[in-house]
Symmetry: C2
Subunit: 207 residues, 2 copies
């Protein structure tokens, strides 16, 4: 890394980078649109919720009002819950609507009621066009468990989502119809996961 | 979704979930380890930096001191920069060491110097065992561009990283040796990206 660069090499690098910059500037000049995106984070890997949460914090950094509805994982004392409710309750509404994983509740009626209440809250937050981003965390799990109907959610987004509002939907096994309708879809692939080696969920990393 | 559940169905559901919970509790009881992880977010999809940043915010939510070194994208007025420097400077050190993309600087010597300064800062932050997580954002790009040597970084982590410190390395094209050495690796796959449709980078979503 420390090998000195000759003036000729420096000049060649500079000329090459100037060409790349010109090409890139031309390409980026075509990207002028702004729109409220439907964003999906799915797949078995880590990072679906944390990256949704990272975007929420970016919004707060830009003073953009936003909101989070957490489906499913309802009872954890998470870092995201603490930081949003303690520091940013004015900019970001935070609602935990799940009652925990289905194998914790063991009560289908309660799961259905919690999911329905979460989706009712989500509709209100999305309709309110002051909110620039609404994160529906783990909603894909609610779809997967049959607690919510993805088609009903997609119809609502198509008809009622304000044009500039971003809606982020996370959770593995996103329904095909959602992937089809979304603007931005990332599949988180698990290359390696430390749970396999007996390491437990740790604060900061998983919650 | 609104079909009523019979008492028999509710009982069957409850019994099935109780079995799942018992199996899961047994499995999770084997996950008792705690360790400082080497975490890698790579791949072409969105969410590598935002999920690293989401974990940093989780740490802050748990009052865990942490730090961020941003390589490469040095000159942007990002949401993460604003929120960390405005609100959490006491818990999270934030250092922007890049000077922008290489095609912006067009100066290889300057890029090398910025990467070296970033890595020197990162070493200090990792050695300081008060920091529970250190995010090295876009460091994989510095590897890819030959600005830093991944082997040198891995040797440092093996020898000097405190046992309980998490180090997160982001950026596409993570070197094989890093993936080999890491505890937790996620590959972000781009299923759909709105840049393709002429939508530009938007605040809250990309920065």
């Amino acid at each position: 890394m420390s090998a000195a660069i000759t003036p000729e090499e420096a000049a060649r690098h500079s000329a090459k980078m100037a060409k790349i910059k010109a090409a890139r500037d031309r390409m980026m000049a075509t990207k002028t649109g702004e729109k409220g995106l439907i964003i999906v984070h799915t797949g078995p890997g880590k990072g679906k919720s944390s990256s949704g949460f990272g975007m929420i914090m970016r919004c707060i950094g830009h003073d953009m009002p936003c909101a989070v509805v957490q489906f499913i994982k309802g009872t954890w004392d998470t870092g995201e819950r603490r930081i949003l409710t303690r520091h940013f309750a004015d900019l970001c509404q935070f609602h935990m609507m799940g009652e925990g994983f289905t194998w914790e509740t063991q009560d289908r009626e309660r799961d259905l009621a919690a999911a329905a209440a979460g989706w009712a809250k989500a509709r209100d937050l999305i309709r309110d066009d002051r909110n620039r981003m609404v994160l529906l965390d783990e909603i894909n799990i609610a779809f997967r468990l049959g607690l919510l109907d993805p088609i009903e959610v997609l119809e609502f987004l198509a008809e009622e989502k304000p044009a500039m509002t971003h809606v982020v939907l996370t959770g593995r096994n996103a329904p095909d119809a959602l992937i089809e309708a979304a603007d931005l879809v990332t599949e988180m692939g698990a290359v390696k996961h430390p749970f396999r080696d007996g390491v437990k969920a740790q604060p900061g990393v998983e919650f």
